[in-house]
């Protein structure tokens, strides 16, 4: 996994709460057995019209948000299905940072495993940033993970909470499985006791 330390990028707004993973990537694209190449299907039913052409009303299709790497959305982003294809699609499309008042649990965990930083800001701050992304052309944000801050072009800084354990993994791009395997002896010892139980 690519480490995440600092990131500066264009912010795109998605003015919707409860964006579920079925919207982030619809089911017809879950049949692939690869991890790569899902970006083309991101928000498919919102991004494309029935004839396959782009829906010009959808924010990510507007010229000013091409190349965005920070998405600012509403509360409970990523709810629903556990499909990791959702963060795969976001990452492949170019998003490294997601900002929302809250994220669904499984989705948040899936983001961490893929080097995407989900940042929770309070609803007012998230809405303020989203409105600026809507009204100011080329609105860029800088995310500093060691300091746990998001800074806007005017120098206004927002701090966010972050689990210190997950932060370390993101900063160093650590392999989860490798970390757990350090404790293989403890697992084996536990397993011996567990296997001896009747159920």
């Amino acid at each position: 996994m690519e480490p995440f330390v600092e990131h500066t990028g264009l912010a795109a707004p998605l003015d919707a709460a409860n964006v579920d993973t079925d919207q982030i990537i619809p089911k017809q694209f879950l049949k692939r057995i690869e991890r790569a190449g899902f970006g083309q299907f991101l928000f498919f039913d919102w991004r494309f019209k029935d004839d396959g052409s782009e829906n010009p009303d959808f924010s990510l299709n507007k010229p000013e948000y091409r190349g965005a790497s920070i998405l600012i959305a509403g509360a409970n982003f990523g709810c629903g299905s556990s499909r990791e294809h959702a963060p795969w699609a976001l990452l492949d499309y170019g998003f490294r940072v997601l900002i929302a008042p809250s994220f669904a649990d499984i989705f948040r965990s899936n983001c961490y495993k893929n080097g995407i930083l989900p940042i929770e800001l309070n609803a007012d701050d998230a809405a303020r940033l989203r409105r600026q992304a809507e009204t100011r052309r080329g609105f860029q944000l800088t995310v500093d993970l060691p300091k746990q801050t998001v800074s806007d072009p005017d120098g206004k800084t927002y701090t966010f909470e972050m689990d210190s354990f997950r932060k370390e993994f993101l900063l160093k791009g650590l392999d989860d499985i490798g970390w757990t395997l350090q404790f293989e002896d403890a697992i084996a010892e536990y397993e011996k006791k567990r296997d001896a139980l009747p159920a």
């Binding site: 879950l30 049949k31 057995i33 991890r35 039913d45 556990s82 499985i177 404790f183 403890a186």
Partner: protein, 468 residues
């Protein structure tokens, strides 16, 4: 005397291989269920890193999400689906994992076959790359959905890194009205707490109304915990749990059975245990529920009407409601009972078990589906299908003009050919009414299987309490 503990705390602490402040806990997993959609990249990850499956005996796989529900002797026409199915077969062969494939008499929806086979047991930590893994919590297990990276992690280590969730007890007390189903309980709960109301929590459903439910009804309740945002849902094991499990293929036998039951009896939450959140619900107040919008929290009583966005206080809820009205082609004030339906789907890991099919068949028997409605019944597993056919339920449905299918997830998520056409309105016994979930442009209303069956006959929603 130890401090009183919740069932969650007991199961959690008996599964922590390592729990150190400032680190995620390493939680041991007793049972991992796998299916074709969320596992291929996990197996590929193992291969790329030269890793093995630590305990192939603790993972069981089946194919359910993308499988056709038509004649199993025919080839799968969707080549990408076929490839995904073949990939699961190859991966299970390579890594030595038990697979219940399309030709197996044990094939079915992963959350239906786990309990059927007796793999789902009280006190176990159970995971699957599917958010509805919470279903298994009905047995007093800690069961939750995971992503594909975590599937790989479990395969490699038989453990997961987990942050300890909070606890949330929901007490449903008293008797349900006649015709009100387990599905109505959980839809009503989600309507109250919202789709993020359980975020970060494990919910324990308790109270006399929950204890009165059968095991299959309890599974329906726990199944939709994720739709309330919860990490997991669970219900204390009791005599019904033991009676359900006894004699099943993977249930303990002989002296082990007695020892297991003794252990399981220690699991229920202690009196006086602390909860991070609590909610009390009067069962008698719950009416049959119908979702009107595009998330399972957007629910009203069948006797009610489509709400207006300004009835909601929160601006997010108002906006979501406006969008839902447009997508669902509804106007505020429309009576639920006036909504005409094009399709009915009875199936999914929420409501496709034998008791669901019996309840639906009871409504349908001797009647005909409305001429404007196309109805389908998809049993949750081959075992459910065989049992239903032995009881003649398939004939009841067929005689009424319903389509009787092979087992799988089917139109709950429409990964296979079973989908809604744009604009079609469907009464569905499944768990998600998200935009496009059952097919792009399709309009899903979640209901109990009884309500779905009655809607198929009437061609519109009817209050099952007045059905005769």
């Amino acid at each position: 005397m130890n401090a009183p503990r919740t069932m969650f705390e007991k199961i959690w602490s008996s599964h922590t291989v390592r729990e150190v402040p400032g680190e995620a806990a390493i939680l041991y997993i007793d049972l991992h269920l796998a299916h074709e959609v969320t596992s291929p990249q996990a197996f590929e990850g193992l291969r790329m890193n030269g890793r093995k499956v630590r305990r192939p005996d603790k993972t069981f796989a089946t194919m359910d999400h993308n499988v056709p529900t038509s004649d199993r002797s025919l080839p799968i026409l969707d080549l990408i689906s076929a490839k995904q199915i073949e990939t699961l077969e190859a991966n299970c062969r390579e890594f030595g994992i038990t697979l219940y494939d399309l030709n197996s008499p044990d094939q079915g929806i992963v959350h239906v076959i786990g309990p059927e086979l007796g793999l789902t047991q009280p006190g176990r930590a159970i995971v699957c790359g599917d958010s509805h893994t919470s279903t298994h919590g009905a047995f007093g297990a800690l069961a939750f959905g995971i992503g594909t990276s975590e599937v790989e992690h479990v395969l490699a280590t038989q453990c997961l890194q987990q942050q300890r969730p909070k606890t949330f007890r929901i007490n449903v007390e008293g008797g349900l009205q006649e015709g009100v189903a387990a599905k109505d309980i959980i839809l009503n709960i989600i309507r109250r707490i919202g789709t993020a109301g359980g975020a970060g929590h494990v919910i324990e459903y308790a109270g006399s109304a929950i204890r009165a439910l059968s095991m299959e009804q309890r599974m329906t309740v726990c199944n939709m915990s994720i739709e309330g945002g919860a990490r997991a849902g669970m219900i204390a094991p009791d005599e019904k749990t033991y009676a359900y499990l006894k004699g099943r293929r993977f249930a303990p036998k002989g002296a082990d059975w007695d020892a297991a039951v003794e252990y399981w009896k220690t699991l229920p939450s202690d009196d006086g245990a602390d909860w991070d959140a609590e909610l009390e619900i009067d069962a008698a107040e719950i009416a049959p529920q119908v979702t009107w919008g595009v998330n399972p929290g957007q629910t009203v009583d069948v006797s009610g009407a489509v709400p207006s966005p300004d009835e909601f206080d929160n601006p997010d809820d108002q906006k979501t409601a406006e969008r839902a009205l447009e997508y669902m082609d509804l106007t505020p004030g429309q009576r639920i009972a006036d909504l005409k339906l094009d399709r009915v789907f009875i199936g999914s890991c929420t409501n496709s078990r034998i008791s669901d099919l019996r309840a639906a068949a009871h409504i349908v028997k001797g009647r005909k589906a409305n001429a404007d409605v196309r109805a389908m019944v998809v049993p949750g597993s081959q075992a459910v299908k065989r049992q239903a056919e032995a009881e003649g339920l398939d004939a009841v449905f067929r005689d009424a003009g319903f389509d009787w299918r092979e087992s799988g997830c089917s139109m709950c998520l429409g990964m296979n050919p079973d989908t809604l056409a744009p604009g079609e309105r469907c009464a569905s016994s499944s768990n998600r009414n998200f935009e496009g979930r059952q097919g792009k442009g399709g309009r899903t209303h979640l209901v109990s299987p009884e309500m779905a069956a009655a809607a198929a006959i009437a061609g519109r929603f009817v209050d099952i309490r007045s059905w005769s």
